[in-house]
């Protein structure tokens, strides 16, 4: 079943010259890990906002087409109502702290309290989420006193605890160090394993290649390429849109330039090494 469906979506921000999104048609299956890549200004963030209903409800502007979540058109739902089905995580962890809680524990409980979940159930779910996100160690810390990476995990956990079916995540790791990036991705993967649909905008292509089921390449407001990570990263469109390829694919391509053909398109460096040492490769004369 499709979790998110966009049909002929074209959108222009108020006061801006041309559309940021042009004729977008996209279906994301339930439980799929779908990454959106592309150069700056390609419309990735706006696409996320459209899925979440912020476009056009919050940003106004000219919107054409339809967005369906689990088959339901969201045009008539309020942003608050859509919040129950679609979660959203931003780039800057600082702005995602509610600003009114004194501990990570309360920060996770905040959303559930707003929805009127009974206290005993809130406590149970908070404990579970602290565990899942690996943030039990700082449950009593002030959210503002945490590092950026810790804050981002708290922001993600505070959103995941709402148990929406779809989680839209916009460049969650762009301000984080490698270790924190891995931690955040581990949490996103855990969320997917719970059966949620993940829509992720990300610049770290190694991670995109490793975790995604499907990759959407955006450019100039249009979908330029779509498919498995292997398909998209080997598509010439990826290079022409200035995408930094994952290390393994980049290496495989360079090796091909030196006459070494690598079977398949290994998405991680270990996979590349495995493919090369598997003996199935051959060196051209």
């Amino acid at each position: 079943m499709d979790s998110v469906t966009l049909t002929d979506v074209t959108y222009t921000y108020p006061g801006s010259e041309g559309p940021v999104l042009r004729d977008i048609n996209l279906s994301i299956r339930a439980g799929e890990f779908c990454s959106i890549i592309g150069p700056n200004g390609a419309g990735k963030t706006t696409l996320c906002a459209a899925i979440r209903g912020f476009v056009p409800k919050f940003y106004k502007g000219d919107f054409e087409g339809t967005v369906r979540i689990k088959g339901e058109d969201i045009a008539d739902a309020s942003i608050g109502e859509i919040a129950r089905d679609v979660g959203f995580v931003f780039q800057n962890p600082f702005t995602q702290m509610s600003g009114i809680t004194a501990s990570v524990y309360d920060e996770l409980a905040f959303g559930l309290r707003n929805l009127g979940v009974p206290p005993a159930q809130i406590r149970e779910r908070v404990e579970g989420m602290l565990e899942l996100a690996g943030i039990t160690a700082f449950r009593d810390r002030d959210p503002f006193q945490l590092s950026g990476g810790q804050q981002q995990r708290v922001a993600l956990a505070a959103m995941l605890i709402m148990e929406q079916d779809v989680i839209v995540i916009d460049e969650p790791t762009s301000q984080l160090d490698p270790q924190s990036t891995d931690d955040v991705f581990a949490l996103i993967e855990a969320a997917q394993k719970q059966g949620r649909t993940i829509v992720l905008v990300e610049h770290k292509m190694g991670h995109v290649a490793r975790y995604s089921d499907r990759v959407v390449l955006m450019g100039e407001g249009r979908i330029q390429a779509i498919g498995t990570p292997a398909d998209v990263f080997t598509d010439p469109a990826a290079a022409s849109h200035g995408i930094t390829l994952p290390e393994s694919i980049e290496l495989a391509q360079r090796l091909a330039g030196h006459g070494v053909t690598v079977p398949g398109s290994p998405l991680t460096v270990p996979a590349l090494i495995g493919a090369l040492s598997g003996g199935s490769h051959h060196v051209a004369d």
Binding site: P14, G15, S16, G99
Partner: protein, 219 residues
């Protein structure tokens, strides 16, 4: 009732989130002015910006909360919460009346704000403290009276001397900040959209003025 409903409409989520930031800006501005040893208060920049973005009622609440916050460490400031709220309302009303768009109007607005502040300072100082406090402008008034000036004249003059530079610079900084905010963000705020629309209209006018010239040169 309909009026009350209109006030409630001013308090959008964006406006609500702006209030804590504005109060913090007031605090930081005030303590920065002290740290830099400037002869000004500059403790209402946040209130002015909020009033310009979200209108008189949100501006009033911001001013009131700011002084309530100050009063926790200095309870003698409590009465001035009323003054700060009223100044916020005045600035918001002026902004809604498109009075911060052109330099001519900005100067008249500064005049109005100074007049209102001076009147309120003098009246409130008299009502709450009998006319004298330990503030700088109050001591100046006392000195002027020693020099033989009448009570009200000294009160008004000493307040004007301290209010003019403070309110002028506060308005200028607020206008500068508003002008640095993107049109897209300005449109998110009720009163802020007035600035955005003015900006868009001016751009369109410039374009319209430029096109015939360009057409003329190509002919």
């Amino acid at each position: 009732m309909s009026k009350l409903f209109a006030i409630k409409q001013d308090f959008t989520l964006m406006a609500i989130l702006l209030i804590p930031i504005a109060v913090a800006v007031n605090f930081v501005g005030g303590s920065l002015a002290l740290a830099l040893k400037l002869p000004l208060y500059l403790d209402s920049i946040g209130t002015f910006i909020v009033a310009m973005l979200a209108g008189p009622w949100v501006g009033g609440v911001t001013g009131f909360l700011s002084l309530l916050g100050v009063s926790i460490t200095d309870p003698t400031s409590l009465p001035w919460a009323v003054l700060a709220a009223l100044v916020g309302v005045v600035v918001g009303t002026l902004a809604r009346g498109k009075m911060f768009l052109t330099w001519g109007r900005i100067i008249s607005s500064i005049g109005i704000i100074v007049l209102v502040s001076v009147a309120l300072v003098v009246i409130m100082r008299f009502l709450f403290f009998g006319g004298f406090t330990t503030s700088g402008s109050s001591l100046v008034a006392a000195a002027m009276m020693t020099a033989g000036m009448p009570f009200w004249f000294a009160q008004v003059l000493s307040s004007i001397v301290s209010e003019i530079p403070d309110k002028t610079i506060t308005v200028l900084i607020a206008v500068f900040v508003i002008r640095s905010i993107s049109t897209r963000t300005l449109l998110k705020f009720g009163t802020g959209s007035i600035f955005a629309e003015y900006r868009t209209a001016r751009k369109a006018k410039k374009k319209a003025a430029a096109t015939p010239v360009a057409a003329g040169t190509t002919n």
